[in-house]
Symmetry: C2
Subunit: 345 residues, 2 copies
Amino acid sequence: MDRISDGRREATEIRLRAYPPDILREEDFELHRAPVPRSLEAGELLLANSWLSLDASARLRMRESDSPYMPRITLGGPISGFALGRVLSSRRSGFAEGDLVLHSSGWRTHAVIRADETGWRGPHRIVEEPGMSEAAYLTALGPAGLTAYVGMVKLLDPRPGDVIFVSAAGGGIGSLAVQLAKIAGARVVASAGSAEKRDLVLGLGADVALDRRVPDLSAALRTAAPGGIHGYFDCVGGPELEAAIDNARPGARIVMCGTVSNYDTQSGSLPRNLFAIVAKELSVKGYLTRSYAELLPTVQAEMAKLVRDGRLRDRVTILKGIDSVPRAFVSLFRGEHVGKLLIQL
Amino acid sequence: MDRISDGRREATEIRLRAYPPDILREEDFELHRAPVPRSLEAGELLLANSWLSLDASARLRMRESDSPYMPRITLGGPISGFALGRVLSSRRSGFAEGDLVLHSSGWRTHAVIRADETGWRGPHRIVEEPGMSEAAYLTALGPAGLTAYVGMVKLLDPRPGDVIFVSAAGGGIGSLAVQLAKIAGARVVASAGSAEKRDLVLGLGADVALDRRVPDLSAALRTAAPGGIHGYFDCVGGPELEAAIDNARPGARIVMCGTVSNYDTQSGSLPRNLFAIVAKELSVKGYLTRSYAELLPTVQAEMAKLVRDGRLRDRVTILKGIDSVPRAFVSLFRGEHVGKLLIQL
């Protein structure tokens, strides 16, 4: 084992205290402090995290019973989530001290990446594009960007003039999806939960920004898109999905990258209008970003070009310090933040 | 106008008395008798109906407000639905006295087909295949057969060894879908609502027949298909769709030709497990048979061959006389009949 000499002595991680039955509270988390690991096994990496991504999907793993799709988070251990870190010490080939790394050992200040951790969840050594901020590798050039790209460009693939509906458009993925749809020449109707987010979304080029909290979102969408929508980019499920199905043109496509409206409670408003899937011959396609992992380098290069050309903007809310994580994560489900929610350490 | 001489003097049609708010009752219908039409305009056909098809989807048109997908049925007028009739008199080219015709002026003993009625809803002159019963043109060789063929063969397209789930398998479409899946070499798990239907379905080759009324259909499907299902043929929605989503293998396909579980009330149990569409990257595809109308002759020929070879069997419940229609249609939603429900006039 190699000895590591590191300026900082203490590492902090966020742990889940108990499995919250429904609405998540700040008290469900606790901070755990321990010395920074001082030695590595062969194949391991020690990272000092600089940015953490807080993603709603982590809520799905904070449950007593294993989901059929995702292993639950272990109580008394660290929580996983995408993060960027710099290599403090490496016993893994291809990674050297100082490298910027995208990985999934977030929710902590320091991470030891085990030898058996590979694939989509990383570690990925970042080839830094000129002119990009470090944080961009968690947003437009990172998992959020890949999710938006796959859903909007690869699966929905709008034609110029198509009307595309994007929900959660003020969020990290939705705000990118809106811009990708505009770049493709679509007319974009977006929905978001606050006036601030709607302003943001209009600033990003959306043609209409709807308030997702109106009593009849379907009617609002009908007014915004009287001829119906050609496609819908869904991170939300719930009333937005119902409104999209109501307003879909025959043959419309719906891509689903999440159903955040029911992550907390696993229930909620679900589409009453299933028959429209038949009657309008809709296609609904769910996808996981990790299945498109091989596209990450291509998408990073394409997104970097769009950012440099001023055609795509990253919208982020940045909170500072590991101590801010519990409150920030809980607030994610109240839709309080604009853009992608990042923690700077 | 031509004068028509017809043996029968009286025509009977079924009318809707009022729009039923939820559960349909026999009293919602009335019989209306009138003289058989005695003259035709240019382009018109007079038919004596011999067989009527009763299809659950007609329920969707028995509503006060127009559905966005289907015009409502007019009170005080005839109800439409597929039927077979013989030409009594023709002022339309391509149709001669005595021809067998598939059309959508069912729910009545005699039909005048107007000059502007064309396309999927007919009239279609039937080229009678050797050895087929007349009724087969409303079942395996008719709209039901085309629906089953498109959903199972064209859209699901199972590979040998795939596990395919078929709901409403004791019904007119499901019973054909089960057989088409077996012919493709799939392992078929079927669900149906009565012991009689399950016996029928097993007799048609299904490997397992589940009782759709068990408290936990999803668990029953898991036991029947421990490795999950590759595809699901859905006419039902509701708990069956939820069970299919629960038990879908990653990348599984779901085709939807109906959501009969909520035709009566437009509500009911709907999938709680939407996130699985994302997590398992499922594809859900709704379709309308009429969009595949051009396949009808091909499918008729293929189905006729399968029937003649003894590889496909038509299952029907036949009731007699126009007076039996109201009770028969209402009973459709209680799942009382095995196979396709036909009325012989």
